[in-house]
C-alpha cells in the first residue's frame, strides 16, 4: 500500500516537475525582450555573455558584490546541494559510476553543510529586520521544508539507519516500472514525501529562479545595440517605415 502511494506520488511529482518546468521555460523562451537592457558594463560578444552567465550561476557573482553573508550561506547551500544530489545518483544507476562512488564521502559533509547554510539563511530571516520584513509565510516554509529534507536524510545516516539496499531496489523499480517494496522507515518516508512535495511545488514557486536566471535580459544580453538592430516580433509590427 505504502509502496503504491509513494510510487504514484513520485510519478505524479515527476510529471508535474518536468511538465511544469517545461511549460514555464517555454513561456520565458517565447516572451520577447523588446529592448536592450543589459546591466552594464556588459560583454560585447556572445562568448562574453556565456562567461558572464557562467560566473553568475557558478559563483553567484552579483550576490557576492551585494552581501557577503547571504553569498556565503547561499553559495554553501547550493554547492552542498549539488554534491548531495551527486551522492544520491547512486540510487538511480547500476552499476554506480566511479566518480559518483568517489564523491560519496563528500556528499555526507555536504549534507551537513547544506543544513547549516539553510539554518544560516533562515536565521537571517528573523535576525535582519529588512529581511524579516520581506519574508512571507512561503519563504519560511520553503526553508523549513528544505531543512526537514536535509535533517531526515542525515538522520538515516547518523541516527537510525534504513535499509538502503531496499531503498535502491525501490528507486530502481520506479525507473524500470517494476515496483519493489519501500522500507517503512519514518525518516525515509518523511524524506521522500518532502522531496516529492518539493518537485511538485517547484514550477509554481520562487524555485523558478533556477531556470529564470538564464532568461534574465539584464544578464543575458550582448551589449551591441548600435552595431546590431534588435527588434522583437511585436515591435516589428509597429514599424511604419517599411520599404524605406
Amino acid at each position: 500500500m505504502l509502496t503504491t502511494i509513494y510510487a504514484i506520488l513520485f510519478y505524479v511529482a515527476t510529471l508535474i516537475f518536468v511538465g511544469g518546468l517545461a511549460y514555464k521555460i517555454r513561456t520565458y523562451f517565447v516572451t520577447p525582450a523588446p529592448l536592450k537592457i543589459a546591466t552594464t558594463p556588459a560583454p560585447t560578444t556572445t562568448g562574453g555573455v556565456v562567461f558572464r552567465m557562467a560566473r553568475e550561476v557558478a559563483l553567484f557573482e552579483s550576490l557576492f558584490k551585494s552581501n557577503k553573508w547571504i553569498w556565503l550561506f547561499g553559495y554553501v547551500f547550493h554547492a552542498a546541494l549539488a554534491l548531495v544530489i551527486i551522492r544520491h545518483l547512486r540510487y538511480f544507476i547500476e552499476p554506480v559510476w566511479t566518480w559518483v562512488v568517489l564523491a560519496q564521502p563528500f556528499g555526507i559533509y555536504a549534507g551537513l553543510a547544506m543544513v547549516g547554510a539553510l539554518a544560516g539563511l533562515w536565521f537571517r530571516r528573523f535576525a535582519v529586520d529588512r529581511v524579516r520584513y520581506i519574508s512571507g509565510l512561503s519563504d519560511h516554509l520553503m526553508l523549513a521544508m528544505l531543512i526537514a529534507i536535509g535533517v531526515s536524510g542525515l538522520a538515516m545516516k547518523f541516527v537510525s539507519k534504513t535499509d538502503i539496499v531496499a531503498v535502491k531496489a525501490f528507486t530502481m523499480g520506479l525507473v524500470t516500472f517494476d515496483w519493489q517494496p519501500l522500507p517503512t522507515h519514518p525518516a525515509l518516508l518523511i524524506h521522500l514525501g518532502l522531496v516529492a512535495l518539493l518537485m511538485i511545488i517547484f514550477p509554481f514557486s520562487k524555485l523558478l529562479h533556477a531556470p529564470g536566471v538564464f532568461f534574465s535580459p539584464t544578464r543575458n544580453q550582448v551589449d551591441n545595440p548600435r552595431e546590431k538592430r534588435h527588434l522583437a516580433p511585436w515591435a516589428a509590427k509597429l514599424e511604419t517605415k517599411a520599404g524605406e
Binding site: 546591466t39 552579483s62 520581506i134 539584464t218
Partner: protein, 520 residues
C-alpha cells in the same frame, strides 16, 4: 505635502532603521485629463479600472520577458534591500527594491499564478484593490529607475522594468503622472520638453552667442537647422536655459568651433530627453525617437552626437536603433550616436583642442556617474568606457581630480535622487531624502580631500543637485557640467575667427525654415 527635514548626513555606508510608511504620503500630482488624452490614455480613472489593469498587466507579461521572469524569479534573499538610495534616505521599507517589486508581484500572483489563485494566504497574493493601486502610485513614483538594485540581484532583477510596467498600467487606466505626461505632450507638439518654439530657441542661441563673444571676443556659433552639416547635436533642452547645463552647451560649441566641426542643432528635434522611457511606453518612446531620425535625414547630417544627458543617452545608445533605426544613412565609419565626451576626448587625444588646465585650478573636482550612463549604456568601444571617457575629459582639462568612495561610483553609483521622471517640485521631500547617499559620499571627499565641485553628465542630475545640494550645506553651484570645465580650459585665440566667418553666415535657419517647422 507636509513639512520635512533634510536628513543628517552619516557615514556613507550606513543602513537606516526601518521606518514603515514614512513615505506613504509622497505622491506626485496626477495627470490632468488633457495631458492623458494627448498621449492617447484615458483622461481619468476608468470605471472598470481593475479589469483594465489586469488586462494590461497580462498583455505586458506576454510582451516583456523581463517582467515575466522578474515576477517569478525573486527568492527574497535580501541582496537588494540596502541598495536603493530612496530606502537609504527614508528608511521606508517599501522603498527596498524587493518590497517595491512585491507591490506588483502580489497582484501578479493573485491573477496569473496557480499558487496565488488558490493559496493567496500562503504566497502573499492580493487582489488589486483601490488601496493597492494607491500604493502602486505612491511607491512606483519613488523609484528613479536607476537600476542599482539590478547590479546586486543574483538574477539581475531590474526594478526599473517593474516600475515602468506599473506606470504603463496606471497610464492605461487613467492614473498617469502629471510631470512626465505633460512633458511628453510638449515634445510631440513643440519638439522639446520645455515647449520652446523654434524662434524662441534661435533667440536663446543668439543671446548665448553674444555672451560667448563678450566673454572671449571670438564668434563661436550655435547653429540651428543647418542643412548639410556633418554633425547633428541632440542635447537635453535644459542645456538651453538652465544652470549649469548652459555652460556645458557653451563647452560643446567651443569644442566644435576649435575642431572646425561642421555641426548643427535641430529645432524639430531640439530635445534629447525621452520621458516616455520613464512611463514604460514603447509606443511613445518610439514616436519621440523617430523625431531624431527625421531631423537627421532632413538635415542630411553624417553623424549624431548626444549631449550630456543620462536617460537620453540610455535611449540613444540602447534604444534608438531599435525604435527608429536602422541609421544606415549616416556615416558608418563612426558609431552613431556618439556621446559628446567620447567626441571631445578623441579630439583631445588627436591634439585638436588647445587646453589650459590651470583655468580650472580654483576647483577640486569629483565626478558623479549618472545611473543611466553607468549601468544602462556604454560610451566608446569597450565595456566600462562610460566610466573612462567622462573622467578622461575632466582630467584633461583639470589638475585637481579625486574620485568618491569606490562603492559609490562606477556601476555602484548612487542616483542623484531626481531621475526616472521624479524631478518635480511635488516630490521635493523624496528628492532631498533620496540624494542623501550621494551627498554623504560627496561630503566625505569634501572633508578629506578638499573637493569643491562635482561634475555630472546628466541634465536631471545637474538640476537635481543644484536644488538639493544647498539643503545639505553645499553650494548650489557645486555641481558643474563636464563641458563647462572644457569650456573653461579651452583656449580660443581671436585670430581663429577669420576662417570661420564664411561658415558662420550659413548658420541659423531662415525665417521660412522656422515657419515650416512650426507648421509641421
Amino acid at each position: 505635502m507636509g513639512e520635512y527635514e533634510t536628513p543628517e548626513m552619516d557615514d556613507y555606508a550606513k543602513t537606516p532603521e526601518l521606518a514603515p510608511c514614512s513615505m506613504a504620503h509622497s505622491q506626485p500630482f496626477i495627470a490632468a485629463p488633457n495631458h492623458q488624452e494627448d498621449l492617447g490614455f484615458p483622461g481619468e480613472l476608468v470605471d472598470n479600472w481593475q479589469e483594465k489593469a489586469i488586462e494590461k498587466f497580462g498583455e505586458l507579461l506576454t510582451k516583456y520577458r523581463s517582467l515575466r521572469v522578474y515576477m517569478d524569479g525573486c527568492v527574497k534573499c535580501g541582496a537588494c534591500t540596502d541598495k536603493c538610495h530612496y530606502f537609504l534616505g527614508t528608511g521606508d521599507p517599501k522603498n527596498m527594491p524587493v518590497a517595491r517589486q512585491d507591490l506588483m508581484r502580489k497582484v501578479y500572483r493573485r491573477y496569473f499564478t496557480f499558487a496565488g489563485k488558490y493559496f493567496p494566504w500562503l504566497v502573499g497574493a492580493e487582489d488589486l484593490t483601490k488601496e493597492v493601486l494607491d500604493e502602486w502610485y505612491t511607491y512606483f513614483h519613488q523609484c528613479s529607475q536607476c537600476r542599482r538594485c539590478s547590479v546586486y540581484c543574483p538574477y539581475g532583477i531590474d526594478t526599473a522594468e517593474i516600475s515602468m510596467a506599473a506606470r504603463e498600467i496606471m497610464d492605461h487606466i487613467g492614473q498617469g503622472q502629471k510631470y512626465c505626461n505633460e512633458i511628453i505632450g510638449k515634445v510631440h507638439v513643440l519638439g522639446n520638453n520645455l515647449g520652446l518654439p523654434a524662434k524662441a530657441l534661435r533667440a536663446t542661441l543668439d543671446d548665448l552667442e553674444e555672451d560667448i563673444f563678450d566673454d572671449i571676443e571670438v564668434e563661436v556659433k550655435l547653429p540651428l537647422d543647418v542643412k548639410g552639416a556633418d554633425v547633428l547635436l541632440v542635447t537635453p533642452s535644459a542645456d538651453f536655459f538652465a544652470e549649469p547645463h548652459i555652460d556645458g552647451l557653451i563647452g560643446y560649441a567651443k569644442v566644435f568651433h576649435q575642431s572646425n566641426t561642421s555641426w548643427t542643432l535641430s529645432s524639430y528635434a531640439s530635445e534629447a530627453a525621452n520621458f516616455a522611457m520613464f512611463i514604460g511606453s514603447y509606443d511613445q518612446m518610439k514616436q519621440i525617437a523617430e523625431r531624431i531620425r527625421k531631423a537627421a535625414q532632413d538635415l542630411g547630417v553624417k553623424r549624431i552626437v548626444v549631449g550630456e544627458c543620462g536617460h537620453a543617452w540610455r535611449v540613444a545608445y540602447n534604444f534608438w536603433n531599435t525604435l527608429a533605426g536602422p541609421f544606415d544613412f549616416l556615416d558608418q565609419s563612426v558609431p552613431s550616436p556618439m556621446h559628446i565626451t567620447e567626441f571631445t576626448y578623441k579630439l583631445i587625444e588627436e591634439g585638436k583642442l588647445k587646453l589650459d588646465k590651470s583655468q580650472n585650478d580654483h576647483m577640486t573636482l569629483t565626478f558623479h556617474d549618472s545611473c543611466n550612463v553607468a549601468r544602462a549604456s556604454r560610451i566608446g568601444d569597450d565595456p566600462g568606457g562610460q566610466f573612462f571617457y567622462p573622467r578622461a575629459v575632466i582630467k584633461a582639462v583639470c589638475n585637481n581630480y579625486i574620485d568618491m568612495a569606490p562603492d559609490t561610483i562606477h556601476e555602484h553609483t548612487y542616483c542623484c535622487g531626481g531621475g526616472g521622471g521624479l524631478l518635480t517640485d511635488d516630490l521635493m521631500e523624496l528628492r532631498v531624502k533620496g540624494a542623501k547617499p550621494r551627498m554623504e559620499a560627496l561630503n566625505q571627499v569634501t572633508e578629506n580631500n578638499g573637493v569643491t565641485h562635482m561634475a555630472a553628465i546628466c541634465a536631471i542630475c545637474k538640476s537635481q543637485f543644484s536644488k538639493v545640494m544647498p539643503k545639505y550645506g553645499f553650494e548650489m553651484d557645486g555641481v558643474v557640467s563636464v563641458h563647462q570645465l572644457v569650456s573653461n580650459a579651452i583656449v580660443i585665440e581671436p585670430d581663429e575667427v577669420e576662417e570661420d566667418e564664411e561658415e558662420a553666415d550659413n548658420n541659423g535657419p531662415s525665417d521660412e525654415q522656422i515657419e515650416e517647422r512650426e507648421e509641421a
